[in-house]
Subunit: 246 residues, 2 copies
C-alpha cells in the first residue's frame, strides 16, 4: 500500500483541534492542491473563502451549532460559483449565457467542481498530518451565510471545512459493505442483506465506542434523519441566487 | 513536499489508455478509497457502477462522443443515491421520508457525497500510477444512461470516470490565479485583472502546446460554452426520478 492510499484509508473526521493556526504556506498548499482537481470543461466553477474574522467565525459557529467552526486551525467555505464566467462578457453575451447559468445542469457542475476541489484540500491536509471535517450545517441558515460572505448572484455557499491539528483521534467509522455501494453493469436493488449486516456492524460500533456510546443502527439513524423535513428553504434560496431554476 | 501532495499537484486528465485492464485488486482499492471519503451525516448517498459489458460501453461511448469511454482499463459511473435509505423502512416511514428525499438539500448532499468519493477514487488511481478522466458527457443523454444502468427512483447518474494505464502524458493545464479562486472573509467581485492575466496565460498555453494547438482564451471558451443552451433536460429528468423537486 502506498502512502497516499494509506492516508485515504485512514480518514476520520476531526472535531477538536489544538489552538495552533495554519501557516500561510500550509493554506497555499491546500488551495493549490484543491485547484489541481479535475474541473468540468475547464469551468473551475467554485470559489473558496477562508474565514479568519473572529466575529464571522463566531456567527458561523452559532449557525452550525458547532464550536469547532470557531476553534480550529483554519476555516474554509466552499462555494458553487457561476458568477465568474460572465465577468468579462458583454451585457448581450451575459444575456445569452443565462439559460445555462440558471439550469440544473450547471448547478450540478458547480456543486461537483467545488466538491472535487474540496476533497483534494481534505486529502492534502491529512497528508500533512492535519485533521479536517466538512461542515454541511452552514446550510442551517444558508441565507445568512450568503450575506456574511457577501456572495453575488450565481454564487452559493455549499459547505465549510475546518482544518487543524487534531486534539483527539476518534475511532474510524465503518462504511457500508462494498457490495451495497459498488454494483456491476446495472443497479442492484436487492441490498437488504448487506444493509442488515451493516446495521449489526454499526450497532456493535456505537455500543463499543469510547465516546458517545449509544444504541443505534444505520437504518434507524437514516429513517430518523429523513423523517423530519430539513432545510426545505435551500431550493428557494438557490433559485433566488439565479441557479437551479430550469 | 510529500508524495501525496506531489500526486495531487501532478494531475492531468488522461484520455488515451493502453489496453491493459485493471485487476480486481486495483478496483477494490479504488472503491475502498472512495468509500472512506467524508460523507454528509453518514448518509453515503451514492452508488458506483462498474461497467464492463462491451455493448453498454459501446453505447456510452456513442452517448458521450468519446472513444476512451469504451477503450480504457475500467469505467466507473458515479450515481447520486437516495434510494438505499428507504429500503428497510416501512411504507409509512417511506412516506415520511419523502419531503427530504425529494428536496434540493438532499439532491445537493447526494451530489456532494458522490463527488467526494469520486475524487478519492481519482487520487487513489493516480497514486498507483494509473491515469483517469471524469466523463461529464454521460449527461448528453442522461435518460438513456439511467435506463442502461437500470437505476431505480431516487438514483441518478452524475458522471463517469475512466481509469487505466496512460498511453500518452498530456501537458498539465494551468489553473485560474489563486487570487481569483481563494478569497478572505468575503467574496471579492473584482477579479477582472486576474481573469485578464489568466486569459494571456491560456492564450500562450493553447498556442504553444504540442497537441491541438489553437488560438483561444479562457474567457472566450467560457462565453462560447455558456452561450448555447445545453442539457436543458437535466432538470426535468432529475425531477422525474423524484429528486430536486422542492
Amino acid at each position: 500500500m502506498n502512502q497516499t492510499i494509506h492516508t485515504l484509508l485512514n480518514h476520520r473526521s476531526i472535531r477538536s483541534f489544538t489552538n495552533e493556526v495554519l501557516t500561510e504556506d500550509q493554506i497555499n498548499t491546500i488551495v493549490e492542491a484543491a485547484q489541481m482537481a479535475s474541473t468540468s470543461s475547464y469551468m473551475q466553477a467554485y470559489t473558496i473563502i477562508g474565514v479568519t474574522d473572529p466575529e464571522k467565525k463566531q456567527e458561523l459557529a452559532e449557525i452550525t451549532g458547532q464550536s469547532y467552526v470557531k476553534d480550529n486551525g483554519h476555516l474554509f467555505i466552499f462555494c458553487a460559483d457561476l458568477y465568474r464566467h460572465g465577468i468579462l462578457a458583454s451585457d448581450l453575451q451575459k444575456q445569452d449565457m443565462l439559460p445555462n447559468i440558471e439550469n440544473t445542469e450547471h448547478f450540478l457542475v458547480s456543486a461537483v467542481d467545488a466538491s472535487l476541489a474540496a476533497q483534494n484540500a481534505a486529502v492534502a491536509s491529512e497528508s500533512m498530518g492535519l485533521g479536517m471535517c466538512y461542515i454541511g450545517s452552514i446550510r442551517n441558515n444558508i441565507k445568512r451565510v450568503d450575506q456574511l460572505l457577501q456572495l453575488p448572484e450565481h454564487v452559493i455557499p455549499l459547505f465549510g471545512m475546518v482544518v487543524g491539528y487534531p486534539d483527539k483521534q476518534p475511532e474510524q467509522k465503518p462504511r457500508l459493505p462494498k457490495r451495497a455501494v459498488y454494483h456491476v453493469n446495472e443497479y442492484n436493488k436487492n441490498q437488504t442483506e448487506e444493509l442488515r449486516s451493516f446495521d449489526h456492524t454499526i450497532q456493535d460500533y456505537y455500543k463499543s465506542r469510547k465516546q458517545n456510546s449509544r444504541l443505534d443502527s444505520w437504518t434507524d439513524q437514516m429513517i430518523r434523519r429523513f423523517s423530519h423535513p430539513m432545510r426545505m428553504d435551500v431550493n428557494e434560496f438557490v433559485q433566488s441566487k439565479g441557479m437551479n431554476k430550469r
